[in-house]
């Protein structure tokens, strides 16, 4: 029986056993502090400096100058908008598709474990492999995607058209991550008591009503958790962009994350990239904390 939480107060002395626990906890906390907190502190500090590898004579403290520059940087604004479009489209498509598939596949259970093993393949593949795969398949003249689309006259230079490249990347993300949400939702379906459906059936609910009134409310917490992780991972997207478009054509697929990378590692502007990366960190934390809170309110054990 664990002690009553109300009686555990911060000023209470540690028992010898608890002191052992603290010693077990300490190394991990120290390592996390050194590898996460310290780098973030350095990032913040560097963001207050003018620091370019290519122009070392210009290095020096500039206060909030980099952040001011950001406000006027149209390319940064565009990259945030692209990241937003990418995340909103992938999350909407993945959640929608995964929910529909889960609704269809939840009916039968026999043979499902083999099917599930099949569905988990895309999400475990190394992102770089996914990028290579789709770059090959998107090849404008020799790729298999256009081979099939040519039958219906929809073949395009998917990665070379500024208007299509971001969409092509969205499609890849949907391909890789819909199965992840599907498996999550199927686990959620399995936890819904069958009696609820039977009761709804007795009440004369059709399939759509059953989905809307029974399934959806019970899956809400899980859906928010899914949205959380797809949003966070959407902000992090890097390898597929790097291998498929390098942010191009032009700047058509240059999302926030990739822009910050380019500023540091192509233009060697460490100060400005640090400011971009710090803002990105703040956005990621605010969005995550908001979504985690929302998920907890809905009863998710996260």
């Amino acid at each position: 029986m664990p002690p009553d939480p109300a009686r555990t107060d911060a000023s209470r002395r540690f028992s010898p056993l608890e002191r052992t626990y603290l010693w077990m906890l300490l190394p991990a906390v120290v390592v996390l502090a050194l590898t996460v907190v310290v780098p973030l502190g350095l990032l913040l500090r560097n963001s207050l400096y003018h620091w370019q590898f290519s122009k070392p004579w210009l290095t020096g403290f500039v206060g909030l100058e980099n952040y001011r520059e950001m406000l006027q940087d149209a390319r940064f604004g565009a990259s945030i908008w692209r990241a937003f479009v990418f995340i909103a489209s992938t999350v909407a498509a993945e959640v929608g598709l995964a929910l529909s598939l889960a609704e269809l596949l939840s009916v039968r259970v026999r043979g499902m474990s083999l099917v599930k093993s099949g569905f988990l393949l895309p999400m475990v593949l190394p992102p770089i492999v996914v990028g290579i795969m789709w770059r090959i398949m998107y090849h404008p003249t020799l790729g298999i995607v256009n081979y099939f689309l040519r039958f219906i006259g929809l073949d395009q230079a998917w990665l070379a058209e500024p208007g299509l490249a971001l969409f092509a990347l969205i499609a890849v993300d949907v391909w890789q991550w819909t199965p992840f949400l599907l498996l999550m939702f199927l686990a959620g379906y399995a936890a819904i008591p069958q009696e609820l459906y039977e009761a709804a059936h007795v009440d004369g609910a059709n399939r759509w009503h059953r989905f809307r009134d029974v399934t959806l409310p019970l899956l809400r917490a899980l859906i928010v958790v899914g949205v959380l992780f797809r949003t966070v991972d959407g902000m992090k997207i890097f390898p597929t962009i790097h291998i498929m478009t390098e942010g191009g054509p032009g700047e058509a697929t240059e999302v926030m994350n990739y822009y910050a990378y380019k500023i540091a590692f192509a233009y060697s502007n460490v100060g400005y990239s640090s400011a971009l990366s710090f803002v990105m960190f703040l956005i990621a934390i605010v969005v995550s904390v908001g979504l985690i809170r929302a998920a907890r309110r809905l009863g998710a054990a996260i």
Binding site: Y21, L32, G118, M133, I136, F180
Partner: protein, 275 residues
Amino acid sequence: MNLGASLSRTGYWAVLSGAILLFLFPIYWIVAMSLKAPIDVFAMPPVWWFQPTLDSYRELFGDAPTLRYLLNSTLISSLAVVLALLLGVPAAYALSRLQRRWKDTLLFTILCVRMIPPMSLGLPFFLVFLRLGLLDTHLGLALVYLSLNLPLVIWMMKPFFDDVPIALEEAARIDGCTTAQALRLVVAPLAAQAMAAVGILCWVLSWNDFFFALILTREAAKTAPVGITYFIRFEDARWATIAAGATVIALPVVVFSILVRRYLVSGLTGGAVKQ
């Protein structure tokens, strides 16, 4: 069976097969490509039936560095996993047993580590490594992966320890075990399977990383995912060889993932979703 039920049964199988085909075809296509002769790789219309050949794999490994990249990946991921388990499992256990109010805040902070954009950590890591001489070293990259793996280990192992009744340890202590012995003899054997699963997951995630390996290595510690892009840099990219490389890199991941499939969704959410 009435007509309606058999129709919905047909519909069910149609949707299921369609979905599986859609999600698995790209994987089949790339593996098939790695087994085709150069002339068939980009044949248009595509060649569906072909004589499989291992030429692409021979070229992949004939080009010397491939094996070293794979070895680097293996070494770095394994080192990161061992360190993450050594530090993370005791921490998870301690967090499960401690009853303090700050515990939840600490756990929440650890979960948030999973949310940090890689650039926000990668850039300072790059600058520090530059100064400390850790750029392009196995140890440096393993340290980065350690910090990514630790939160996962803690979040996946803690609920597991929550389920191990504390009475078991107390009984062992009453029988004369020290705390360490109680852990080693009573708790560790129960945790072994979960630890193995978490370790494999961490290994897969480290193996899959591209971003940190790209910015923190040059040649000596270059890992396979970065190494494979070497074949693309040429004007006439050797796509069949690249497809073979992609298959080789993906193979251990696929095998391991199927082994730990029960823990996979949980692992990909940093342990936040329990299964």
